[in-house]
Amino acid sequence: MTDTDYEKLATDAGLERVGARAPLGEYLKELWARRHFAYTLARYRIQATMSENRLGLGWIVIRPIFTAIIFGTIFGVIMSSDSRPDNFVPFLVVGVFIFEFFSKSFSAGAKSITSNASLVRSLNFPRMLLPIAAVIQQVFELVPIIAVMTLIIVGFGEPITWAWLLVPVILALMTMFNLGIALISARLTVHLRDVTQIIPLLTRILFYSSGIFYSLEQVLEDKPAWVLKVVELNPIHDFITLVRAQMVTGNEASPTMWWVVIGSSITMLVVGVIFFWRAEERYGRD
């Protein structure tokens, strides 16, 4: 060891510690300055998947359609019961398609740092751009999904109403919610790779508990009222129900759901941003 005081030398020369996490405000400013990177990355990713598969963009809509057909056949035809709501096909399609937006943001967000290790190890940029790019990609893919969803709903005789204008608002809130989830899961995956194993399980639990192919309101009719109140606190159920309430006749959303959806979107986004930002210095090391 030499006896030079390197610390003092650096301070005297006005040097800054390399890789130090920027304060949140500056970090967000930097993020905004490089927004084109996230946007371009998302766009190129979609183009890459499109050119790899023969059906390309088609898969984005074929997957949820198949999921809907499978559940529709099992629960609508084979096991049909009282819990089957009216207008079953539009009901199911909205459920499956909207849920897909959540589940794909969740899994893509979780992998966003670990699957881009070479990028993270070789270039400096705010790491938050990667989970953001993952969610932007999902938003782009949502456009054809919503288009197909609308076609199916109209095809099954649902009227087009002014209430449909609320759907983009709901989806915008859901994007905030999904981004928050993606940021949290992205950091957790870096700490603990096992998280990627748990995500499909969590997704399945949420799928079955969010009333995708049955109506929670109908299933819980003879249960005490508080059970339904608890179920209504699940934001994913509320996002889906709110979209249904605008687009599928016979579905209604309670005012509580709006509050849950608005509250959880803002909370998730703020928590996600702060949670992810706090570990900024760690992402290159593991």
Partner: protein
């Protein structure tokens, strides 16, 4: 006060200072790796701590170009990544006047995408604005000399071609501090000459360059000072000829 009395007059202010930098990696080891674990490794219930850097300190002044040498696994690349801020030191810290940029050979940006898209993404990630990135595109591709392959996915490139493209992207921006990790060893003769020239140009624009290389010739050609890293320690720091000689003498033993 930015000048210490001992510094030679031709050098500028300190631009990079490393203060007692330690880096530890935690990693899961399998049986085979455990068997040949040397002094670098400490075992800890299946998780091994690799102590890649064990207290490296130095200061670099404006206008110097630093060669970094050492055998494979000595910690050179870890040191580069730490200086670039891509890996955070577990103890100690690196200070710099501006954020150093690292260019290495091993990382393709996004292998599935074409060279063209990698160039644009790389430029955007480095902080070019969108218009800037598009304006720089031609220069980057021309410098890389890969225009006929630019539409192919980067995974189809040879490692030399990937290194050329990465190098071209990295030097498209004037960096005050540039870290070059063996990137010059991969290109062919013509490209190597071109990139050595570019590094000299960058240095003349009051830049500072760190060059990691196993080629003692390029170290002696381009560097004004050499750091010898050995098992995570800074073994020698000084004039290129002296350090390279000592290094070569130790390698022969």
């Amino acid at each position: 006060m930015t000048e210490t009395p001992t510094a030679p007059p031709k050098l500028g202010a300190p631009i990079v200072v490393a203060n007692d930098v330690h880096v530890e990696y935690r990693t899961h080891a399998s049986g085979k790796a455990l068997a040949n674990g040397g002094s670098l490794f400490k075992r800890q219930k299946g998780i091994r701590v690799v102590h890649a850097l064990k207290g490296v300190s130095f200061e670099v002044r404006e206008g110097e170009s630093i060669g970094v040498i050492g055998h494979n696994g000595s910690g050179k690349s870890t040191l580069m990544r730490t200086i670039a801020g891509l890996t955070t030191a577990t103890q100690g810290a690196v200070y710099a006047a501006s954020r150093p940029a690292l260019l290495g050979v091993n990382a393709a940006l996004i292998p599935d995408l074409s060279g063209e898209k990698n160039v644009l993404l790389g430029a955007l990630a480095m902080g070019h604005s969108k218009a800037d990135a598009e304006a720089q595109y031609e220069d980057i591709v021309e410098f890389s000399g890969l225009s006929e392959f630019i539409d192919l996915p980067m995974k189809t490139y040879s490692s030399g071609m990937q290194a050329r493209l990465r190098f071209s992207i990295a030097v498209s921006r004037d960096h005050q501090i540039l870290l070059v990790d063996e990137a010059l060893a991969v290109g062919d003769k013509a490209f190597r000459d071109k990139s050595e020239q570019r590094i000299r140009d960058l240095r003349e624009q009051a830049g500072t360059v760190f060059l990691v290389s196993h080629s003692m010739r390029s170290i002696l050609d381009t560097c004004t000072r050499v750091l010898w890293i050995d098992h995570g320690n800074l073994k020698m720091d000084g004039d290129p000829k002296t350090v390279v000689k000592a290094y070569q003498a130790s390698a022969k033993k």
